[in-house]
Symmetry: C2
Subunit: 128 residues, 2 copies
C-alpha cells in the first residue's frame, strides 16, 4: 500500500502522513526504491490519528493515546484522564468563544449598519 492509497483510505493528505512519520507517530517500511509501504498497523494508526485529531486532540495527546492504544496492558483510567483534560480545554474554549459571541452579538445588533459614521462597535473597541 503506497501513500496515495492510504491517504484515500484514511482521508489524511499525503503531506500530513509524511509529517506524522517525521514526528515519529508512524514508521512505515520502505520499498527498495525508497517508496513508503503502509501495512495494516500503519493504516490503523493513521485512521486512529485522523479520528483523534478530528476530536481536537493535540499531537502530544495523540501520541499518548496511540501508545495506550497499542498497549494491551493499559488502564482505561489513563485514557479517560487524557480525554477529560481535553474535554475541559474544549469547555474553556467554548466558554471563551461564547463570551466573545455574546459581546459581539450585542454590538452588531446595536449597530445601524448604514452610511453614517456613528458606530457602537467602534465605540466599544475604543472604550470611549
Amino acid at each position: 500500500m503506497n501513500i496515495a492509497e492510504v491517504s484515500r483510505a484514511t482521508g489524511l493528505p499525503a503531506k500530513t502522513i509524511r509529517y506524522y512519520e517525521d514526528i515519529g507517530l508512524i514508521t512505515p517500511a520502505r520499498q527498495e526504491n525508497g517508496y513508503r509501504v503502509f501495512r495494516d498497523t500503519d493504516q490503523h494508526k493513521l485512521a486512529f490519528l485522523a479520528r483523534a485529531r478530528s476530536l481536537g486532540f493535540g499531537i502530544d495527546a495523540c501520541r499518548d493515546l496511540l501508545t495506550l492504544y497499542t498497549d494491551q496492558d493499559r488502564a482505561s483510567a489513563d485514557v479517560k484522564a487524557i480525554a477529560q483534560e481535553h474535554l475541559s480545554e474544549i469547555d474553556s474554549k467554548i466558554a471563551a468563544l461564547q463570551s466573545m459571541r455574546d459581546t459581539l452579538g450585542e454590538l452588531v445588533d446595536a449597530c445601524a449598519g448604514d452610511n453614517r459614521p456613528d458606530c457602537p462597535i467602534l465605540k466599544d473597541l475604543a472604550r470611549q
Copy 2:
C-alpha cells in the same frame, strides 16, 4: 511615554507592541536615543487593538477596523460587515467545538476509568 508605560496602560506585552509596529499597525515616533515614544493616538490605537484582539478579531480585521476607526467619513455598515463575518466564524468554531464536546463527553461517560484495558474511547478512535 515609553514602551513599558504604554504596555502597563494597555495590558499588551512590550513584545506585542513592537510586533504591531513591525507589521505596520502603529508607527510610534522615536527619541534621539532610538527609544520609541508613544503619543495619545498610539496609546488609543493599542487599546483599540487589545480590545479587538480580545474579541477574537484577526490581525487583518484589526487593521481594517483601525482604518475605519480613524476615518471620520466611515460608514457604520463597513464596520458591521466585518463584525458580522467574524461573528459567523465564531459561530462555526463554537459549533465545531460543541460537536467535539458532545462526542467526547459521551465517550468519557462511557469509560469506566479503571485499571482494565477495555476502553470505549479507544474503541471509538479505532472505530472498531
